[in-house]
């Protein structure tokens, strides 16, 4: 059987690797972006000079032929689902028995005037970073439109080149659609600490170019003009489905799939950023644009393709990010407001750069999730507590079991416990004793 995978991102590659682990099927991975799999999450580090492109490749180049995963650098223009054939831009024909579409995302553009000027771009691909290198030469001021994760990454990238950054966000705080107010403010303060200009409650109206077609300023909806030589468009990404838009394949925002990542056409599957679940679980987004979920989907799909039909199960939600110097880890479903049956506990260090939040069931005190800023926490511990509905009092008292900061870091456990006992006086928890030297 010949399995063709379009897209060499984490979801496509994970599928390929796990198919190989359990079968001898012929595997072909096609990408127009790069010859080899690389970590898209590391794009920012290439621009900042922390790494070179080759460092972002998780596997050495010999890995693919050794594992008989054929790679092809080509752009697929057309799919004939009836005869099971792909057509490249160059007119080549590739046949398949099973097809996996994992084409990833493209930058959202909302038909802003001037959005195609030189110096205006998003950051999704390797080519985007190369373009950004070119576009930021000689730039002193830049505007980042939108305050999500790519937004803060691009802001950090620009900042590393001593470019003054203005960040436009629609809400009244940074990433207000996702983060609770206190956390969003914490990140906002950190952005200000880096001398970046966070402009809240502000949206892009249009981008103005100069006589050479290069951006020179932007105008916000409230009529403010900001001079800039570069504009980063980071108001989210959407599934990259132009390849299948007007085909038999059912699409909405993304390619519609069931819990087995199957599309409406037999032997055609889709996963990762470009897929959209027909029936997402409650409080789960229909399109999951995450590294982690791409990996999990790939493993489940590999099973299905190899004959063991496996439902994709997200399990206990988790995610992480880094806002400039502040690391963020989250476990469980943590929305900007606790759910109606939840209570929330928030602790923040007096310096305002470290915080934690725990949401728990109002009725029985079962832990629902954690947010950590500037504290590292063990996934195994958080996963276990949330899964087994551990009582919040127990969790707070045993936080030290999950702390994952490097050795010799200050522990804030005592501080957190004291604060917890103060705001939740019905609990009077104590720090669980730590065994010294466990043999």
């Amino acid at each position: 059987m010949k399995i063709v995978i379009i897209g060499n991102g984490i979801s496509g590659i994970t599928t390929a690797r796990y198919i190989r682990k359990q079968s001898d099927h012929e595997i072909l991975v096609i990408s127009a972006e790069s010859d080899h799999f690389f970590s898209r999450t590391a794009l920012m580090y290439i621009y900042m000079g922390h790494m070179k492109y080759e460092h972002t490749k998780p596997y050495e180049d010999w890995f693919w032929s050794k594992n008989r995963i054929e790679l092809k650098n080509a752009y697929i223009q057309n799919i004939d689902f009836d005869s099971k054939k792909l057509f490249t831009v160059k007119g080549e024909e590739i046949s398949y028995d099973k097809l996996v579409i994992s084409t990833g995302s493209i930058t959202n553009k909302f038909d802003w005037p001037g959005q195609d000027l030189k110096g205006v771009q998003g950051m999704v691909t390797k080519q985007d970073v190369e373009l950004m290198e070119e576009n930021t030469i000689g730039v002193t001021d830049a505007v980042v439109v939108g305050g999500g994760l790519i937004g803060i990454e691009m802001a950090e990238m620009l900042h590393s080149r001593n470019i003054h950054v203005h960040i436009l966000v629609r809400d009244n705080v940074y990433w207000g659609g996702i983060l609770p107010k206190q956390e969003a403010e914490l990140v906002g303060r950190h952005i200000a600490e880096h001398k970046m200009n966070l402009i809240t409650k502000s949206e892009l109206k249009e981008i103005i170019g100069d006589e050479n077609g290069k951006v020179k300023s932007i105008i916000t909806k409230d009529g403010k003009e900001i001079k800039c030589g570069f504009v980063a468009l980071t108001a989210g990404v959407s599934p990259n489905i132009s390849l299948v838009k007007d085909s038999k394949l059912e699409t909405d925002r993304g390619i519609l799939v069931n819990d087995y990542l199957e599309t409406n056409i037999k032997d055609v599957y889709s996963l990762g950023d470009c897929a959209q679940f027909r029936n997402p679980k409650e409080n789960h987004p229909p399109v999951e644009q995450l590294w982690y979920t791409g990996k999990m989907q790939g493993r489940a799909l590999a099973n299905t393709i190899c004959g063991t039909k496996t439902k994709y199960d997200r399990g206990i939600w988790f995610n992480s990010a880094k806002f400039l110097d502040i690391e963020y880890q989250t476990y469980g479903i943590m929305l900007k407001e606790p759910l109606s049956d939840e209570d929330t506990f928030y602790w923040e260090h007096k310096d305002g750069k470290i915080s934690m939040r725990a949401n728990f069931d109002k009725a029985d005190g079962a832990l629902r999730g954690f947010n950590f800023f500037g504290i590292r926490f063990k996934q195994t511990v958080a996963d276990d507590w949330i899964r087994n509905k551990k009582d919040i009092g127990y969790c707070i008292s045993n936080l030290n079991k999950g702390f994952f900061d490097p050795e010799f870091y200050k522990s804030y456990h005592k501080d957190i416990v004291e604060h917890f006992n103060k705001v939740q006086p019905q609990y009077q928890v104590k720090i669980a004793k730590k065994k010294f030297l466990v043999f």
């Binding site: 590391a42 000079g49 988790f318 992480s320 880094k322 110097d325 690391e327 063990k378 996934q379 050795e407």
Partner: protein, 512 residues
Amino acid sequence: MKIIRNIGLTIFLICFAVFLSLPFLGKYKLTEKTFTENFSDVNQQKVLKPALKDVFDKEYNSNVAFFNDYNKAFDDANKDFRDKKEWDKVINDNKILDITKSSSIGFVKDNSTLLFIICFLISALGGIMYMVPALFIKPVAGIKNDYIFKRGITSRGIIAFCFAAFLIIFYIFLYQKPAYLSNWVLLMDGLSNTLTGGNSSQWFLYGFLYCLVMSVMSVRMYIKYRNNNYQLLRTTSVLFFQIAFAFMIPNILTNLQLPSMDFKNIWPLDYTFFFDYRLTELTSNGMLGYWMLGWGIFLIIVGVPVMVYFFGKRWYCSWVCGCGGLAETLGDPFRQLSDKSLKAWKFERIIVHSVLVFAVVMTIAVLYTFFTGSPKLLGIDTYSIRQTYSFGIGFMFAGAIGTGFYPVMGSRVWCRFGCPLAAYLGIVQRFKSRFRITTNGAQCISCGNCSTYCEMGIDVRAYAQNGENIIRSSCVGCGICAAVCPRGVLKLENLAEEGRFDAYIRPEEKAF
């Protein structure tokens, strides 16, 4: 702030240029008095004096001309004995470094205190002026590896190769032709007299430079990793052990006319530990000598395994060791240059364990000769084994390649490919230790920062992205992978041995 930084760099470069020019400056005049001070043996004087009569009181403008004449005269004096094969009469040690130093006249000799201040103190100050402004230019603490791969010096540019060439040449002269560095050694006499009670040798100069470079580069470490207590403590520790244990204590012991010893240097890294002259020195110095010998053996047999069991080999390699100390300070800007390929790992395992075997065999041979008095073991001259090791491993590998290749192959070339002690520590760490780098579940995003900044060339990501803990014999536990990880995935820790190799599998995937 940028101005201060540039002034600092300028000061450093000027001082460095002065330092580099010293071996080419100065005049040399050997007097009969100087000669008799260095060769007190009357028989030797009788042989050498006639040969050297043309050299006496002649003023040389360059050290090269001086060496030529002096060495020629020396050979002439020995020629007769050599021709007659009267080997016992041949004078082997020409004491050229001491002779050159004491024959130096003119500028360097007259201004040695001033030059000491310029070359070492002001240049250090310049270096610090270059580094400290980072606190103000990037006032928010956090990992900043910006531009590392865009600057020549840290990404194998031409300047990096020049620096490597300088280091290699420095080591070649230091070990093989120290007389050429006599003017540098001369600057150290004042300090050496205070500490050891005698004039400086090239090794005193080397020890001092080592401490100075580490101190200055520690400032950089303290600034760069100021958000990370593990790095701050570790830097303090290596600096302390270098200055106190490797430099001060041995020199003070020399001053007290006791056997000098670096109490933290462990065989087989300290490959001369069982050499006859050291054993004789220790056994002829009463209780203290025996205690020192016992301490050295205790470290090998008990210290290493017990400490590695509890803390991993990091207790030594990145907290105590001198080679590690230099790698973690001077070498830190080059750590990303180590080769992470599987091929490099294969070479590493073969080479480092071969060196360990070589060290053990060499030591057995040397001890055999020490105890039996027989110069040959299985027909091989033990002295030649020892010489081969000293030259090949001690000088070439540990010195010229180990440090010289910093700007090309990263800061741990010696530790990774050559150090026999690291191999020994590593075997214990791999098979019997509580140490591991724990991977935090499935949080890895495969970005590659950990692998890129691993100075030992471990592909950390390969483990982390599979949810596996990192347990590798080569890991020195510097903690930088955990520091540069943007997602808080890695943690160095000592936990129960049980389950340290278990990978994390999401409960949902356990059935797969």
